[in-house]
Amino acid sequence: MSLPVYATLPEKIWHYTYLSICALIFFFLIAPVVVVIPLSFNAVPFFTFTEEMLTFDPAGYSLKWYRDFFTNLNWQGAVKNSLVIAVFATLISTTLGTVAALGLSRSEMPHKSVIMGILISPMIVPLIISAAGMYFFYSKIGLSSTHLGVILAHAALGTPFVVITVTATLVGFDHSLVRAAATLGASPQRTFFRVIVPLILPGVISGALFAFITSFDEVVVVLFVGSYEQRTIPWQMFSGIREQISPTILAVATLLVAVSILLLTSVELLRRRSERLRGITPH
């Protein structure tokens, strides 16, 4: 977006005002995410910049909150739980979600939109309601305060994302490729693994990443269905903020920002690869 050479003065003024408004909004979006990074190196247990930090005095900076994170058993247990729960929940939701998406994108599927609406509802129903329902029901069947209970709950919350991303990948899917494989003598299984899977893989992986982050970031259901034994990183952060605020939370936040940059890059690369594979050129 650039100004034409014949732009009048008011047009120029409006143009630059508009750009500065946009810059401010982008600043609002990104500043809170960035500000936790320097604060996590604070030498004193405050949530703000000290004078030493502003003058770049090395004495104002410290790695002690990171040391605390890596040695504290509360946090280490939380990391382990988060990973275990997220990995198993992702496996369940990716498998079930991908298979269901393959069925949903067949033209023969009856009542498609109703079923799609039902399968996506865990994403729409407010978390507090899902959590309340699971709290009662899972304790009835002996699943509350177990890893399995939290995994199943997170798998249910993650499936909509897999269904959405995989069906989106299948929209551009060229079904003549399947017929071509069949005429060349491939069995249905062989066609599935050698033709369909490689083509939808980017969609499956980005769905899996969405499911992973859903579980990794989820706290309401863990608070209700789980207990201290199932504490995850967000659980630990939530109770940390409520009880005693320690900058260790900021160190964890910084590490989580790094994780989200990693995930964002992977999803973006996958999306481009998928578009290339399906012959949709980005414009």
Binding site: P126, F136, F137, L152
Partner: protein
């Protein structure tokens, strides 16, 4: 002349086709079935179970299983206390309740209807052992509340297996002395106010998100791809960052000794003693939630705006429209689908938000979700929590239905 077409093995073509279609339909259903069953069991059954809890009311009838059937014969409008046989059965019930310690639970349940029952039931469970006939006099001697017809009306009403009293409480209503339904007194009205506050704040947050998202989505859609890909990272990074990280960041920024207050004091805009209170109140909740939900507005707006050809605006201008008229009359109507999609999505997410208001909301910034959590974990009034949840769920489902009508669930895009 009417010759039936047959396949190579002699089956009529029509039959063969129908069979093949049925088979492929079954195959499609079989692929969807595992997920459908999983979602039904792990997600829908728990929610239905919770909804059931909002009307379920077996407890009183179960624990007082001897006296309650007899009480049904009592006419609450007669102006007289129940018969002696009811009191006698009640004494037996209390003896049993003392043994399996269920008297306290019934007392707590009835306490929701009328304060005072909790203590009355504890006292009666302890005293029932020593009681002798005539039981009516013994009960009234133990506590004169047993001689109050009003209390008996409450017990009889709540001995029914289903109740609407949780929903009445959730709507700030209750039973009046004459047994009819009436609104609570002015200072007893909490939840309607809270529902209004939740709706009002969600609407305001949605509006702010729209105001902030519109300019940047437009910028992203008109910039060349290389530049817009770079800028969209600024939207996607917060989107992918943990909710708790962003809430923590806002606590660091907004608190009394936080970054923004330090800056404002440093610039001399306010003095050190009057630091701004921007957190643990409504302002904090609104700022943090707008930040968290903004990407959900930008992404649908951006994807709609990208499809609007720039020639529309040029055409309008060449026909004599000022840039402003062209924008309002030509460009904006084309973005309505994106506005609708983003607004409903943000509103649905805002109305059920729990974590952020719980951490930065304080007293004035809490939403209905926080009260549901409070009744689940602290007051243990699960029926009321379920009723509040059911009402919230109803609102969200209506919005979800609208979203489906406007955008179509199939068109939901991510990332």
């Amino acid at each position: 002349m009417s010759q039936v077409l047959v396949t190579a093995d002699g089956v009529p073509l029509k039959t063969s086709l129908a069979r093949a279609q049925r088979r492929s339909k079954l195959k499609a259903v079989a692929l969807v079935a595992p997920l459908f069953v999983f979602i039904a069991v792990a997600f829908f059954v728990p929610i239905i179970d919770m909804l059931f809890r909002s009307v379920e009311n077996q407890l009183v009838g179960e624990v007082l299983h001897r006296s309650m059937p007899l009480l049904q014969k009592w006419d609450e409008r007669s102006g007289e206390l129940p018969e002696e046989e009811v009191f006698a059965a009640l004494a037996l019930d209390f003896r049993e309740a003392k043994e399996n310690k269920s008297g306290g639970r019934v007392g707590r349940r009835l306490n929701y209807e009328k304060p005072g029952f909790s203590g009355l039931f504890r006292k009666s469970a302890r005293g029932a052992d020593r009681m002798e006939a005539p039981y009516r006099e013994a009960f009234i001697a133990l506590d004169e509340k047993w001689g109050d017809i009003e209390n008996w009306r409450v017990i009889k009403r709540e001995s029914a297996p289903y109740t609407i009293s949780y929903y009445l409480a959730a709507l700030d209503m209750g039973y009046a002395d004459d047994g009819g339904i009436a609104r609570n007194s002015e200072d007893g009205r909490i939840y309607l106010k809270l529902f209004w506050r939740t709706l009002w704040m969600s609407l305001f947050i949605t509006f702010l998100c729209l105001i902030l998202a519109y300019p940047i989505s437009y910028l992203l859609s008109v910039l060349p791809t290389a530049k817009s890909n770079l800028l969209i990272i600024l939207v996607l990074l917060p989107f992918w960052t943990s909710l708790l990280v962003r809430t923590t960041a806002w606590i660091a920024l907004l608190q009394q000794e936080g970054v923004i207050n330090d800056l404002v004091v440093w610039f001399g805009l306010v003095d050190d003693d009057n630091r701004l209170a921007m957190i643990h109140n409504r302002t904090g909740t609104i700022i943090a939630m707008v930040h968290i939900l903004l990407p959900f507005m930008v992404l649908p707006l951006y994807s709609v705006m990208k499809t609007i050809p720039p020639s529309y605006m040029r055409a309008a201008k060449s026909l004599g429209a000022t840039p402003f008229t062209a924008f309002v009359r030509v460009y904006m109507p084309n973005t309505v689908a994106g506005i609708g999609a983003g607004a409903i999505l943000v509103f649905i997410l805002a109305i059920g938000y729990y974590i952020t208001p719980a951490l930065v909301g304080g007293q004035s910034g809490t939403l209905i979700s926080n009260f549901i959590a409070f009744h689940m974990q602290n007051s243990l009034n699960w029926g009321l929590a379920a009723a509040l949840g059911a009402i919230l769920l109803g609102v969200v489902l209506v919005l979800y239905f609208l979203y489906d009508k406007i955008v179509g669930i199939d068109n939901m895009k991510l990332g």
